[in-house]
């Protein structure tokens, strides 16, 4: 989708159409431009630019706070629409999907017709202002590159024989899968473009990048055998990161936000029937440096308070007290679908009292989960979290309210 969040806002509010707008996060001062409208991009505003920088470049820009529920609804709407064309649809991010139309299209002429038809249906279902750039190609890698080559509202067809020409007109990190760090490492080997990447000995690529070396070699030839995967798979990790309202040394404040985040992560674990075996934390300081640590849990967890105790210990062990904290991130992984381990040796060291307390916690959590299912995430909170507010975030890959 083109300038997705901004286009949805312009669809909703016609007085924003044709104007440079930037969709921003929860906090006007410490936020970035999550999406710039097509008009703002033309004036030099880029995605992920800080709001002050965007305002400097484009004084007339209008900042609109993001509304992830609205964007999530439209994301679901267009993904459902895609099922009219094929049942092989893979949602790649909040505004990108792959469709395998090999059988339906028969040939490139058929694929172009489907592309045109899709644009018409998109307009009918989502609105006139929400447009997409479509790339049609023999594989996902080239289709994505093709879709990005003409914006907005493009329809680009790349046949196998066009692949090299398209690749050679792009920068290395234009290709999905080559990030800035990989591009830098390639540059270090004297590889500045796809032609040089193709000509580089594959053995040396593999020596440098392991299995990624094979992938890079194939990608430079426009080859990629990754299939459109329409099956939902279990998540590999569940986590939450949050930028605090201001950089802080205040331990009590950091602990409150951390507890709130742990409760959110724990709720998602319990709701989806997972327990976590491994945990990692990350803190970013005011100067954007950071520290992190990971640990394997003795008991699998899905209780927010337990997660909080472990994560706080990790943070304390790596935190530089001379630096103010800007952001906290926690991630649980090695998820399994089993019941949380009952702690045999809790604080009361295996006493009958400790066991009873543990059982009480389990039944209270179960009751609170039922409440949350029925009335939503504002149904209950811990008293210690009342002074803070964890606001909704939007990112390129998911929406908070759907997590």
């Amino acid at each position: 989708m083109n300038s997705y969040f901004a286009s949805v806002e312009q669809q909703a509010n016609p007085f924003l159409r044709g104007k440079p707008i930037g969709i921003i996060g929860k906090d006007q001062k410490r936020t970035i431009v999550a999406t710039a409208s097509i008009e703002a991009k033309r004036l030099g505003v880029k995605t992920a630019m800080s709001t002050w920088e965007a305002k400097k470049i484009c004084p007339s820009i209008i900042f609109v706070p993001g509304d992830s529920q609205k964007y999530g609804f439209i994301t679901n709407a267009f993904n459902e629409l895609f099922l009219e064309f094929t049942d092989r649809v893979e949602q790649f991010s909040v505004d990108e999907s792959f469709l395998d139309i090999t059988e339906q299209a028969k040939d490139y002429f058929g694929a172009a017709w489907i592309g045109q038809r899709l644009r018409v249906r998109l307009k009918e279902v989502c609105g006139e202002w929400i447009t997409a750039s479509i790339g049609i190609a023999p594989n996902k890698l080239l289709a994505k590159l093709a879709s990005e080559s003409v914006k907005p509202n493009g329809l680009t067809i790349i046949q196998e024989e066009d692949a090299i020409r398209l690749l050679d007109s792009q920068k290395l990190n234009d290709l999905c899968g080559i990030g800035s760090r990989t591009a830098k490492r390639l540059n270090g080997l004297g590889i500045m473009n796809f032609k040089q990447l193709r000509e580089f000995p594959i053995k040396e690529l593999v020596d440098e990048f392991d299995s990624l070396g094979f992938w890079l070699h194939e990608a430079a030839h426009g080859r990629n055998d990754s299939e459109v995967n329409s099956e939902e798979t279990d998540p590999k990790s569940i986590g939450h990161s949050y930028t605090l309202p201001h950089d802080t040394f205040d331990t009590a404040l950091v602990r409150r936000y951390l507890l709130g985040m742990c409760e959110k992560v724990a709720w998602r674990l319990r709701r989806d029937g997972f327990v976590a075996q491994t945990l990692s934390v990350y803190i970013r300081y005011g100067d954007f440096s950071g520290a992190g640590k990971q640990c394997v849990l003795k008991e699998s967890l899905s209780n927010g308070l337990d997660l909080f105790h472990v994560t706080w210990r990790l943070i304390e062990s790596v935190r530089d007290p001379s630096q103010p904290i800007r952001l906290i991130g926690i991630t649980t992984f090695h998820l399994s679908r089993s019941k949380p381990t009952m702690r045999l040796f809790s604080t009361e060291a295996g006493s009958v009292f400790g066991e009873k307390k543990e059982q009480k916690t389990v039944s209270v959590l179960s009751a609170l989960d039922k409440l949350q299912h029925r009335y939503g995430d504002k149904a209950w909170t811990r008293a210690s979290l009342l002074p803070i507010e964890l606001k909704e975030r939007s990112s390129g890959f998911h929406y908070d309210h759907e997590l």
Binding site: V8, Q11, A12, N13, P14, F15, L16, V64, Q69, K70, F73, I74, G127, Q372, H373, R374, Y375, G376, K378, A379, H401
Partner: protein, 82 residues
């Protein structure tokens, strides 16, 4: 100017073809004739379904919230052109 509010409003709407379409809104003792329904989306609050209507008249954008359990309408956003 963009404003986020939560004011109870009276709305005259049609219910036809399984769709709700707000036609007129009364807010602050003024009537507003809704010219366009630009976007409709839903959200969940627990099991409760909330409908949001992004609508406009000739000079204003309004976001209306309809609670499908209580059938209460609220005006939650206003944007005045200019």
């Amino acid at each position: 100017m963009h404003e986020v509010i939560h004011d109870a409003v009276d709305v005259l709407a049609t219910f036809a073809d399984r769709r709700v379409r707000p036609l007129h809104m009364r807010w602050n003792n003024r009537n507003y004739a809704i010219k366009n329904v630009n976007l409709v989306h839903t959200a969940r609050e627990g099991q409760k379904k909330i409908f949001y209507f992004s609508v406009s008249d000739i000079a204003n954008y309004f976001k209306l919230r309809l609670d499908s359990e209580t059938l209460e309408w609220h005006l939650v956003e206003v944007y005045a052109n200019g």
